[in-house]
């Protein structure tokens, strides 16, 4: 298995781990009461705003750990160049990520039209973020393994 394939798998696992741990932590802070109150919107605003730096820091830490473990276990270093195939695979994976997220976004807007509470819309948005990232990672793994 190549470095790029291992990196895609690690990214896939870290997406699931970060999302699961973060949502398990934040669900305890969910405000009780009226589902249309301002507190709900404040909660979801902070949920997404805090998620961004937490996700970035966690990914950097996981990436560093992955590089250390990979270099110790396989004596293989991170490729110093990103060539045309890597860029093409990255672009195709990003395209798939955006397709899924766009679908999730439309679904979230549909939830508002169908008079569902704002929390449902935010949950759909969060889930589509996770699923789109997973689809991106799986796409990368697929293109590296099966060709592009």
């Amino acid at each position: 298995m190549s470095y790029q394939e291992r990196r895609a798998i690690v990214s896939f696992i870290s997406t699931i781990l970060i999302s699961a741990i973060y949502s398990a932590y934040m669900v305890q802070r969910y405000p009780a009461g009226n589902p249309y109150s301002a507190d709900i919107f404040r909660f979801w605003g902070s949920f997404f705003l805090i998620l961004i730096p937490v996700s970035i820091v966690a990914r950097i830490v996981i990436h560093i750990l992955f590089n250390i473990i990979t270099s110790v276990a396989t004596k293989e270093k991170e490729p110093s160049i990103t060539d045309e195939r890597d860029r093409l695979i990255g672009l195709k994976a990003t395209r798939n990520t955006l397709y899924v997220f766009t679908f999730g976004f439309l679904l979230a807007m549909g939830a508002l039209i169908m008079d569902m509470p704002p929390t449902a819309m935010f949950i759909i948005l969060f889930c589509s973020k996770i699923v789109s990232e997973i689809v991106g990672d799986i796409s990368q793994l697929y293109f590296y393994r099966r060709g592009v």
Binding site: S2, Y3, Q4, P79, I81, D83, E84, R85, D86, Y144, R146, G147, V148
Partner: protein
């Protein structure tokens, strides 16, 4: 329109050039070894620029590196 059955002679050309390794070829054309492996296995078709770079390394015309396999009918 179906896909053209494009094949390549890179493995053979490497062998005839002092058994050049995939890593050596990758370094000469500026890609990773994984990309050379993918090209050899027909899992990736390189850009025109990279195809010419590979041909230049072996000092042969492009059609000696990449060719369309004739379908046996």
């Amino acid at each position: 329109m179906g896909k053209l059955p494009i094949r390549n002679n890179i493995r053979k050309l490497r062998f005839h050039h002092d058994e050049m390794t995939q890593q050596q070829l990758a370094d000469k054309v500026g890609v990773t070894r994984q990309t050379i492996i993918a090209i050899e296995q027909g899992k990736y078709f390189p850009s025109l620029e990279l195809a010419f770079r590979i041909a230049l390394v072996f000092n042969v015309p492009l059609e000696e590196v990449f060719f369309v396999e004739k379908e046996s009918s």
